[in-house]
Symmetry: C2
Subunit: 321 residues, 2 copies
């Protein structure tokens, strides 16, 4: 089969002829990949900014697939383990070190397959897995979002943040966003958020406080020195759930306001099989359509990666295989 093989760090993967994956177990199934989707993880691995990289590898964590019995998406998380509250040491996801979805075929455990909801195309379905489960766990399982909560989602445009926006809207939350680009705020408003602020503004956090009156929940993956601002716009009892830290460490973490205002800071990453299954039911029940940025052909992976590296996208970037 054909697959995008990552041979060297800091270079694009190379489209190559590789051996088909092997069906090595009765609990596994061979599937033809219909569509895949990009995640920041793919970019970080290519740049060498990820722990324990093994080369060569076929990247890609998301896919919609066809098997003899129908249309599915794959839960890319494998061997989560027995605890709902954290993943086991053997937890891993599709795409490095095991073969990922930037390929024609894949072999996965049969219980990783979930039927594509009727209201979604195969391209839309491929936008769900990793970003969807990360957003679902962060917003709903960790932060416990519920109807009426005022929710801020930072960095609108990325796959996880837009799933968080859509899940929060479906729950009946009052949703606000930030972005470094005004055009992305406009697109988020079109999705139904109550307001947004461009972070190139001075005092962006004060504008947000004025618009919203303060937040019950903040979903973030930026951290760094934006974190002290986020704390200032929290309501008492608020929860800040973060699943990444693209701006790195925070240099001035003040515990006093956090304990006095009974704030919770919740780290979260990806999600358990239970989270995945609940998310699929939630998407079906609320007929949520993912935000697709652009659909590239399978051969255009380098262009698709370029778009993600420059943060030009608003929504998931999809490959049609």
């Amino acid at each position: 089969m054909k697959a995008w093989n990552l041979l060297k760090l800091s270079e694009n993967p190379v489209l190559s002829e590789v051996n088909d994956p092997q069906l090595w177990d009765n609990n596994h199934i061979m599937a033809d990949i219909s569509h895949s989707a990009l995640n920041h993880r793919d970019v970080w691995i290519i740049k060498g900014k990820y722990p324990s990289i093994k080369l060569p590898c076929v990247l890609g964590s998301d896919a919609s697939v066809l098997t003899g019995s129908g249309k599915y998406i794959i839960n890319p998380g494998l061997e989560w383990g027995d605890e709902e509250s954290f993943q086991s040491d053997s937890f891993h996801i599709l795409g490095m070190p095991g073969q990922g979805t930037f390929a024609e075929k894949i072999v996965v455990p049969e219980n990783s397959l979930f039927e594509v909801p009727d209201h979604l195309t195969m391209a839309e379905a491929a936008a769900i897995p990793l970003a969807g489960v990360t957003a679902y766990r962060a917003l709903i399982k960790r932060a416990g979002a519920k109807q009426g909560d005022k929710v801020l989602i930072t960095g609108a445009g990325g796959g996880v943040s837009l799933w968080a926006v859509q899940f929060a809207l479906a729950l009946g939350c009052e949703v606000y966003v930030t972005s470094g680009k005004e055009a992305k705020i406009e697109k988020a408003l079109a999705l139904g958020v109550a307001g947004g602020v461009c972070t190139i503004e001075n005092d962006w956090h004060k504008s947000l406080l004025q618009k919203s009156g303060g937040f019950d929940i903040i979903i973030d993956s930026i951290m760094g020195n934006t974190f002290p601002q986020l704390i200032k716009i929290c309501n008492a009892g608020a929860k800040i759930c973060f699943y990444g830290a693209s701006a790195g460490n925070t240099q001035d973490f003040s515990p006093h306001i956090i304990f006095w205002r009974q704030i919770s800071l919740l780290g979260s990453t990806m999600g358990s099989p239970e989270d995945f299954s609940e998310m699929m039911a939630f998407i079906k029940q609320n007929k949520i359509k993912p935000v697709i940025d652009r659909v590239y052909s399978f051969s255009q992976l380098p262009d698709a990666l370029e778009r993600m590296q420059t943060s030009a996208q608003f929504g998931k970037i999809i490959l049609e295989h």
Copy 2:
């Protein structure tokens, strides 16, 4: 009546003759104070390190009291508000700005009174209120401690930390402590903790990790630059609950390990009426006796304050009125 009146910051309160408190409402009751107890809050107010200090004032948040109908302790938290997850803006506690318990009598709402458990003396009962409810909320309501959890409680010796130790032991947790003084570790071992480490040791956190294998829950009020060490000895899915920050801000807060290991950082302060009521039931059911450091006579408040200021104590410091 006689009361210890704080007239100037950085000076000890003065024992003076003041007017009796007034019974101004049918829902309130006048009580004779049997015993009171000191809290760090009293010391911070005297030092001027507390927000919105109003002078003169009578400090003291804890008391066991006698009324016509029996023996009680007082929940010192007033006007918590309707939300369990945080206190209202009008929440306040006995002892600045309202009259505190370093006095002969006090007027409090009748529903602030809780019967002294049969297994406790009046001196022991006075050790419960503020420290007990703070520990109960932090350990049990916020961090959700349960049987079998490995729990670290830092700064063993203070009132809150020793209540947290005793509640955790009563739950059946495996409990460890830290202290800056070896003698306090010895006393904690005598209470039944599984182990302890003196923080003047280099690499104290590595010793703790070796002894315990890692913690599910950490209860802390030190923060500052001990915090990065605490993170390193957390198990995946761990909860760090902090109710103070005697070492101040943390200069290097790294979010990556927190989200990857699904750790929760939970701010907590004092407790709601529901927390107080549940704590009283828990103390009764488990027949927990507080750790009393020393009982001073009412006239010895300056000596008692001196003992607390030098962190010499192990357990609550009590005044017999």
